[in-house]
Amino acid sequence: MIKLRIDGNEVEVNAGTPLLKAAQKLNIEIPTLCYYEGIEPYAACRVCMVEVVRGRRRRMVTACNYPATDGIEVFTENERVRRARRLNLEMLLGRCSEVPVIRELAAKYGVEKSRFGYDPKEKCILCGLCVRMCSDIVKANVLSFAYSGPRRKVVTPFEREMATDVCIACGACAHVCPTGAITIEDLSQRRGEVPEMPLGPKTAISIPFQQAVPKVPYIDPDACIKMQTGGCGICAQVCEPEAINYTMQDEVVELDVGQILVATGYQIFEASQMAQYGYGKLDNVLSALEFEKMLNSTGPTGGRVLMKNGKEPRAIGLIHCIGSRDARYHKYCSRVCCMYALKFAHLVKDRTNAEVYQFYIDMRAFGKGYEEFYSRILDEGVNMIRGKAAEVVEATWGNEREGHLLVRCEDTLIGKFREVPVDMVVLCAAIEPNADQDRIGQIFSLSRSPDGFFLERHPKLDPMGTVNDGIYLAGCCQGPKDIPDTVAQAQGAAARILALISKGEVFLDPIRACIDENLCGGCKVCNNLCPYSAITFDDVKKVSIVNETLCKGCGTCVAACPAGAITGSGFTDEQIFAEIEGILADAGNK
């Protein structure tokens, strides 16, 4: 550590720290255009001039790359410094006359006009930040200086416009450019976007949303520069706890467990299947999840309700039962949509002056406190139209030529067809089983009810159990349900699991196959039939034997044994014969 004085204040920094950084420590701001933390300083703009005094020697230096040394004194705002900056800014203004950031900075030093020329088109000050970003940090090596003297400029390879595959379209050059001279046009659609949440751009490393669990950032390997070129790595540099790991891979972990809770959730019905509502085709027709994201105060619009053109809508239509309660898609009711649509109406009324129209079939406010909430929304002046909307079309509104939307529907309460002009439509799409529900079901041997959700053991008496001991269900994988119902079911299932754990032992059904060694002829027919490989052949005794813990008692081997040597306890041949006799005791007596 060394000591130096800046504008009369003493500061202690590591030797070699640039003066600019040392001044920042004292909250002294030194103006600069071409300094960017993490990129090697280059002293191109020369706006950061300061005066350094060492002993009797005084000299003008650039603060961005002059290393702090012991005992020097630095002046950042004396007359000599201001004069130097004024001259440098005048020259910059002569080159790039209409760049706002230069004009502002020049005006601050009293420079309104330049004696060195006037060029309204030029924006680049040749600071080379973009070039160093591209070569040192991103390591894509696309941008470079070309020519010399007054013709010097920054170019892409062979001066072609974006005609290069070397550019990975990371946008880092445009981001660091102090004057806005670089713009990115995504000609080949290479920049990452969040496909399921198209409301805004995202960065390569981000926290998916503020309520994410666990709330940690993740890296999108397709957008990360480090993973594409091996460059950058800035996030690892700035992360003090060294938590960034670029080599982390998905891993498959095998665990031995005694009980399993299946809580695989649901997916949302793809609303574009119902073309009449225009989802995916018309601007401002949103899915409920997109609208939820928009209402989120940490979301892309900061919680404001905005149309695609950035204006506030004057009327919003909320259409219920998209894909649910519909014989063509899902017959069942999704249960949660009525209530979240009411919540949407409440928040829209709270944040905008827009009219809200609810197009519903039946209002199902079934839970505790829900009916009261419904009454409250009615008092807030939300328009309730009973009748499923038939279609959403583009329309003009008044004298405005811009496209608005028209919801056509039948109002079954007044018995009339209506056309409701709105600016924005939100579709409340159905909850449906996951696309891979079938595969998950096969893994756990779970049955599915006709609606495709997993089947519980009993709809009333065992809503979280399944026919397989030790496998339980919770949440929307068993059927659409809201948060309170999901929590209740999950806590019930957890209690069942804990009860078995605290008991410490499991009772198995005494249904097992058993081989009579005296009768077994050793034909091995049963060995290959057993789905659990519970039957093995004893080479010494020359008979087959059953492993009783592996055997599940299906009885396939019992039926197949040609010698009748295998009996299935609980389902022996004698027992079933007796059952047949009993069940047909009344038959044949004329």
Binding site: Q442, S445, S447, R448, S449, P450, L455, H458, P459, V467, I511, L529, P531, Y532, K552, G553, C554, G555, T556, V558, A559, A560, G568, F571, D573, I576, F577, E579, I580, E581, I583, L584, D586, A587, G588, K590
Partner: protein, 135 residues
Amino acid sequence: MPFEPKIVGFLCNWCSYTGADLAGVSRIKWPPNVRPIRVMCSGRIDPTFIVKAFREGADGVLVSGCHPGDCHYYQGNYKALRRYHLLRRVLEQFGIHPDRLMLTWVSAAEGERWAKVTNEITERVRKLGPLHLKD
């Protein structure tokens, strides 16, 4: 008195028996002619059970398991399917109309299908008339 067929149903524990139970829970009507016997798996159903049922006076036999691919024991229903085709031939040689035996798949969620299947076998056997094997 009109002829009421007596039909023995062999139901697997995991799918068909639960499906029949669901039909009851859902208050779906199905004919009382079918008298169910529970086995753990349709693969357990020995052909002698079916022959025994006919000998004891059944006019028809229904075998019901899980849908192919859904067997609780992976493949028991496929084994039932193989035995069913062989048994139909044997029954024919004994002078029993092979349509008196029916194999079907009913899952635990298909209460309505269970009612449909039992109606179908009952009507089928009613048309074939009594078997008179016990006398």
